[in-house]
Every structure is written in C-alpha cells, then in structure tokens.
Symmetry: C2
Subunit: 358 residues, 2 copies
C-alpha cells in the first residue's frame, strides 16, 4: 500500500470549508485506489496571524517541506488588509512559495461544455477554450531584492521595486512550459514586454534559445498588452502561455474569468524537487465564509492536480476529475455556477455528491 503525507493549509475565509471537502475526496479516492494518506493541518495566513502573530509560522513551513504535497485553501480577509507588509496574509503566501521553491505555477483555464454559459463572453467565443498559463512564481518584481522606500533629491518620498530575471530562472520555467505544451496541443506563446523592458529582452532571448530543443512545439511571442486583448478577442488561439510572475498574475486571472467559473479552477505550483503546492485560484471570499455557500470544486480539482503532478498518481487523479464531471452532469451546482434548471447545492452537499460519484 502506498502512503503519502499531505500538509493541509486551510487558511482563511472559505478556505477551511473547501479544504475539508477536498480532504474527504482524497481519503475516499485513496481507499479506492489503494493509497493511504496521512493529513496534517497547519495554520497559515490570517489564521496563523491570529494564532501566533506571523502569516507563515516556521512549524508550518517545515511541515510543508517534509510532506509529499501541500494543499492550500485560501488566505486573506478584510481584517488583516491594513496590516504592515510583513504581517499580511499575502506575505505568508509569498513566503511559502519561496520556501518550497515552487517556481512553476500551472493555471489551467478551461471552459467546460457544462458551464459555457457562465462566461460573460459569447458562446461561440468561449466554447472550447482550454488554456494553460505557466506563470513564473518565485522571481521577478515580486522578489527582486532592491525594493523599498526612499527620499529623492527634491525631497519627495518614493517607493520602488525591481523586476529581475536571470538566465537560469528563465530557462527552468521555459523548460516546464515547453514540456507542458508538448503534452498539450504543441503551441507555446511566451508573453513579455521586450519592446520596453530589459528583463523581458533577456526572457525572450532565453526562450528563443531553448526552442531549438523543442522543434515539435510551435513558439510565438506576444507583448503583454496585446495578450490582455487577445484573451478577450479570441481566447481559443491560445494553448500554453508562459510568462513572468507579474504578467502571469494578471493574465491568469483574466484567463480564468474568461471561463466565467473561477470557482472551478485549480492550480499547481511545482519546484525542481520537493513537495508541490496546490490551491484553487479563487480567493478567501470572506463575505460568504462559514455559510456553506462556497464552491469546493476548484479545491477538489486542485487535489486532482496534487495526485497527478505532486504524487504521479494519474489514475487517482483521473478518478477525481471524472467524479467532478459526473457531479456536474447530474446537474448539481453551487450558487456561483448556478443556471436555471440546475440543482442548487451548498459546499457540503456538493462534496457529498462528488464522493458518491467517485
């Protein structure tokens, strides 16, 4: 019997509700597939701030490091919004990404046939969209060391950050992107601002250099402003997108909203070795927290990515994905993806339906 240890980071807002559903799904999937999971829940984000005064306690990071994979719910809430930077829930998220060195963030944006009407885009534009955004996650302007505040010669206060990429940082994310594109439809679009930024010029140069190793992948380049437009104009033109941390933050969120169902979208953050970090792309939704209204499917699908990319358990992953699709086919919908004629359920009931479909 295979055994894996999973660190669960429920976090804030709806995080605990959705992680609890995903935990049950993993457990049952394991018993059906001959896998035994041990789960360890650790505090992070606002929950950790309230408990021990920091957004990522050392114990949480070391538990995560020792696990086979990490499943995160969501972090943040109004309560901590005006905290100083080092006491923000978001800082804990950046710390765990850096601490696990998960430099590759995979964010699929898929329009399921069952949910095409949830998109604000016209049916013919949204139908069949299937994009994978590969976002660099531990570099760029998020982590550039030259940052802070100062006063200039004219006596004005200023704030600054540094966008910086080294060749090896670009190479490792580009490799993940080429490999990902190769397993998909073989098209990779690298997004940058190489007409203005030196950091982007280096990015583009390295991506082009690596293309020689992937003659089967069709590589294109697009400026970030144009990419933001093209995602709205014709999202189907994209297969795999690779981009830096900041542009990836913006474009992956835009792409996810194009699907209209961000309550359905998972993400995987992977390093060269060590445990991966899996989380829904939605936030902590403090306004509906604790009301059994959250859609747990993004977290359940994150658990499927955990099985696939984190543990290499492809069969178990497929089982979870199929259970989600079956649950949708049976007509069950949480409020965020509800449409006339469907069966409206809460977070818990949606979880139970997925268990039945497993």
């Amino acid at each position: 019997k295979k055994r894996y240890s999973i660190t669960l980071l429920p976090g804030d807002g709806i995080g605990p509700e959705v992680v609890s559903v995903a935990r049950n799904v993993l457990k049952l999937t394991g018993s059906l597939e001959g896998i035994e999971f041990s789960f360890q829940e650790m505090p992070m984000g606002g929950a950790a701030l309230d408990l021990v005064g920091v957004p990522l306690p050392d114990e949480t990071l070391s538990a995560a490091r020792q696990a086979d994979a990490v499943l995160l719910g969501a972090i943040g809430g109004y309560k901590w919004d005006n905290n100083e930077k080092h006491l923000k829930p978001e800082t804990g998220l950046l710390q765990i990404r850096a601490g696990l060195n998960v430099f590759a963030n995979l964010r699929p944006a898929v329009v399921l046939p069952q949910l095409v009407d949830a998109s604000t885009l016209k049916r013919e534009v949204a139908e069949g969209v299937d994009i994978m955004v590969v976002r660099e996650l531990t570099g760029g302007i998020y982590f550039g060391k030259q940052r802070g505040f100062g006063t200039n010669e004219d006596g004005h206060e200023f704030g600054y950050n540094t966008e910086v990429y080294a060749a090896n940082e670009v190479d490792r994310i580009a490799r993940v992107a080429f490999e990902t594109a190769r397993k998909r439809r073989g098209k990779l679009c690298s997004v940058d601002k190489a007409n203005v930024l030196e950091a982007s010029m280096l990015w583009r140069k390295r991506v082009i250099a690596m293309a020689a190793e992937y003659p089967d992948v069709e590589l294109s380049h697009m400026y970030v402003d144009n990419a933001a437009m093209q995602l709205v104009r014709n999202p189907k033109q994209f297969d795999t997108i690779v981009t830096n941390n900041m542009f990836g933050d913006i474009l992956s969120d835009e792409a996810s909203m194009i699907t209209g169902s961000i309550g359905m979208l998972p993400s995987a953050s992977l390093g060269a070795s060590g445990p991966g970090l899996f989380e829904p792309i939605h936030g902590s939704a403090p306004d509906i927290a604790g009301q059994d209204k959250a859609n747990p499917l993004a977290t359940v699908l994150s658990a499927a990515l955990l099985l696939k990319y984190g543990l290499g358990e492809e069969n178990a992953a497929k089982r979870v994905e199929n259970a989600v699709l079956n649950t949708l086919n049976k007509g069950f919908r949480t409020g965020d993806i509800y449409s006339a004629g469907a069966k409206l359920v809460g977070c818990k009931e949606m979880g139970e339906e997925v268990l039945k479909s497993l």
Copy 2:
C-alpha cells in the same frame, strides 16, 4: 480668427492614411468654426529610422514642442522589430512622451450603441460600457533609470528594470484622475498591487491622501489581477480607472478590446503645460497598410480630443464627434467594425463621409 499650429506625426503602417483623413476633418471643422490650422508633418518611428536613422529626430521633437498640439498616427512594423532597443520605433514613442512630459494618458473605452455587437462579450455585459482609463505615462518601470543587464555571482546573465514612483508623480496623475472622475460619473478606482509592491503602497497612500480634496468622488482600490478579471466579468462597474504606466498599458488595452472596436478608440496624453499628444490606441497594422482598409475614426476621434483637451475648442470637438456618430448612423462601416446590412467602405471613403456629416 483663431490660429493653431498642429504637428502631424503620421508614422508607419496605416498611420499616414488615417492621419490624412484626420487632417482633412480638422481643416473643414476649422473653417466651419472660424479656426485656422497650420499643419506640419514630421517623421517619427520606422519612417524616421529609414529616413535619418533614429526613431525620433531632434527636429521632430522640437517641432512638436513648439506646436499647439501633436497628432500621431501609429508607429512600428515587422521591419524594425529586431532592431536594437535605441533603434526601435517604440523607443521614439517613449522619447516623445518623455520629451513633451505628457504624464497623463486618457484612454476612453466606450461601447457605442451602434457597435455593441462588435464586442465578444454578451450584449447585456457590453451594452453601456463607458470607462476612462487614466494611465500614468512618463514614469514607473518604463522609465526607471536602474535598468539593463548584468552577470550575477553564479555567472548567470540577468536583465532588470525598476518600478519607481515618487509622491509628486503620483499626486499629479491622481489629480488628473480625480478631476476626470468628477466631470464623469464621480467614481474613481485606483488599481495597484499594494499587497506586494512597495511602489504600489506609496501609490495607494498618496491617492488616499488626495481623496480628502474630492469628497464628491467615490474612491475605491483594486488589485491589478482582480481588475483584469472585473473588466471581463462586469465592465459596467467602472467609471474612471487610474493606474501606473505598466498596469495602464495592460488594462487599457484589455478595456479597449472589451468594446470590440479598437479601430474606434482615441487617446489623449497631456502634461502640466505645453502641447498634448493625441493618437489612436490601435497600432500600425502593417498587414493592411496602403490598402485603403484602415478605420480612420480612432484618429478622427483623437483629433476631437485634440480640439477639446489640447486647444479647449469644445464646440469644434463636439462637431467632430457628432459627425462620426452620424456617419455610423448612416450605416457606413470599415471592415473591422462591419456587420451584416451595413455599407462597407474603405479608409478614404469613410473620411469623405465624415466630411459630409460635419
């Protein structure tokens, strides 16, 4: 009789065609409104590179500085795409923005009732969208002096740029934004990434401080990733958006594509004093250049903004705007905004129809 001197920068691709139409529109409008224009055409972008080897010749910048207003077509093309940075057409654009010190870039994204079907968004989502993006244009990561390439301790080449804003730079763009919002529907959304970036924290602090002077304007704040989503989810929630140079580049292009008719959208770039720079937001479209297919209306509407913001000639501006609306009401459409039943015309004919409607 009032006299104004206008510097025309036709630029590359479709630039000359659309500027020629706008020039005729300005001329006729002037004679109807008792205004005399003198026009001076100067080379810029790829055209200037081919002619004199730099993307912004000194003569062009000084002519622009001495003019009452500057009208730009579009710059760039495949031919110069692989030029070194200082020999790119785009560099000429950044140089003229800096040279004229036009720090405030106003980019309206309006869905005209006549063109609502051009949007890829569902009718009920697109209908009535009327957003003004106020983008900071001469600061931030585009101009941060700490930039370039280097080699790190591990021997890896790196590229870097600096995002930097000083209090006075934020203040002057925030003031333009509050004033703009006040003249519109009184709602201002400031977009930043203050949960991660120090430059954004300073931005937000200064915007909040200025809000005290504008009690009639309802101020909100949004993170850039969320803004990229909300523009797709429900663009009607926005009135005026203010943001930095990089985020403004991305979000204004996204907003413009939401309207579905970027061939219709003008922009105005203004400084504290001196001539403003007016240009369509679309690019040089090298693939249709010289084929009389371009939509000149974005440039004609840029000329309207030139009249309004650049010269204070509100009546003349209204006349041009009405002529454009009348031309659309008569059913004339260029290819980019064509829909069944309309009268398909080329760039020149569209221009003639606008002249008739003046």
